[in-house]
Structure formats: C-alpha cells, structure tokens
Symmetry: C2
Subunit: 134 residues, 2 copies
C-alpha cells in the first residue's frame, strides 16, 4: 500500500494519511487483515513525526477502519463506518451535495458529473466491500 502526501494540499497530514488508507481499501489495493506500516516506519517514509501517524491511525480506528494492537501492529478491519444508517445517509447526502455544487461551479453539466462519478466508482472494489453495521 502506497501512501503519499501532497505538500500543496491544505488538508492536514493526518487526514491525508487516513484518506489514503480508506482509498487503498476501497480500490482493493489493501484488504481486511492487512497490516499497516508501523507508526515509526510510516513516519520515516513520509519524513513526518510518529505522533502525526498515530493521529491518523486513531482517526481510522474511531471510524472502524482499523484495529490497533499494542506490540503487534495496526490492522485493517475491512469494516465500513459504524455510524447508524441515518447518519451515514446524511453524510452521503451532504458529500454529494457539496460535490455537485462544486461541479456546477466548475462549469460541468449534470451528465459530465455522472460520467465522472462512474469513472470513480469503477475504480472501487465493490465485490469485496464489507457493508456497514445495519
């Protein structure tokens, strides 16, 4: 699993790491049971502080994406969000509402946006998706 940071991004480093992990899981580049690079190893690779990696792994654990075992490592659960269905639906709505608004601002048509979404969805490994807790 490759994790890169975008130095030009305004997004906090720990959030970029967390997103990269979710992206690897979603695209099939990583799977349930995989062990993430250790805190120190990833910190060295990215030339950042280990505490920053810890923050990313903490966030992922809070969202149910990973489980950390002291002394053993940090593992992908393969599980999705543990939020209730209503909360997840609300997050999805908000997510796509923002994306649609931003796409409108960028000057794209509704069909442009649908096509772009299809391309993004094709990259994802829905066959191996673990559904969220009902």
């Amino acid at each position: 699993m490759q994790i890169h940071l975008d130095p030009r991004s305004a997004e906090p480093i720990f959030e970029q790491i967390a997103y990269a992990v979710k992206s690897a899981l979603a695209t099939g580049a990583a799977a349930e049971g995989d062990r993430l690079p250790s805190v120190r190893e990833l910190a060295r690779e990215l030339a950042i502080n280990p505490n920053t990696v810890v923050r990313a792994y903490e966030a992922l654990e809070r969202e149910g994406v990973v489980v950390r075992r002291q002394g053993a490592g940090c593992f992908l659960t393969g599980r999705g969000s543990e939020l209730a269905a209503a909360g997840r639906r609300r997050q999805l709505q908000e997510l796509l509402r923002r994306a649609a608004t931003e796409a409108f601002h960028l000057g794209f048509s509704a069909d442009d946006v649908r096509r772009a979404l299809d391309q993004s969805l094709e990259r994802l490994d829905f066959d191996r998706q673990r559904k969220a807790t009902p």
Copy 2:
C-alpha cells in the same frame, strides 16, 4: 439568499460562507447580478467579524464567482471557475474520487451513490448555469 453557519462544522467560517454563496447560485436561489449582503450586514447577521466576511468574499472573487466594487457592493458574476479546462477536469476527478471513496467507506453500493448524486443534481439550476471560460 440565506447564509447559515454550522457551529459544529470543523470547516472555517469563511469557507462555509463561500460555499453557501456558491450553493445559492447553483440552486437558483441567487442569480447573476445579485448583490451579496454587505460585509458589515452579514457580519452582524452571523455575529462574526467583518474581516471574516471579507475573507469569504475575497475567496469568491479569486474564483470568479463575485466582483467587488468599492462603495457599491459585492455582486454575483454568475460565472463559473476561471481555471483552464484541464485544471477543472482534474478538480472534478479528485472531487468525485474522494466522494466515491468516502461513500464506499460508508457502506453504500455504486447504485446508492449514483442515486444520491442524481438527487443532488436535481436541486441544481443547470438551465441557468454559466459555463466556465473555455
């Protein structure tokens, strides 16, 4: 045009304002030529500092959404992003890639996501959309 702040959002206030303006434009709640609330008026309404509103309007101006006229006010151009086509396409790809990844994490199917996007797109006023600079 209604602008509300979400106190629970981690998003900076000035970005919430900028997004609200883009959203009003996209949904037809506001149109080219409309004047935004003045810096002081919006600051009073939202109980924030006028400089924070200035920051939002500056960001919108940089993106081509508004034009500010000293003494006269701040007006919606109705124009979209002024980025080159390649830049806009890249932003769209990135936008939807992130949305798709997050939706996957939330446990939704590809069809769930398409439907949710359709709902969001239906809210937008594509008939009145001003295309971005070619």
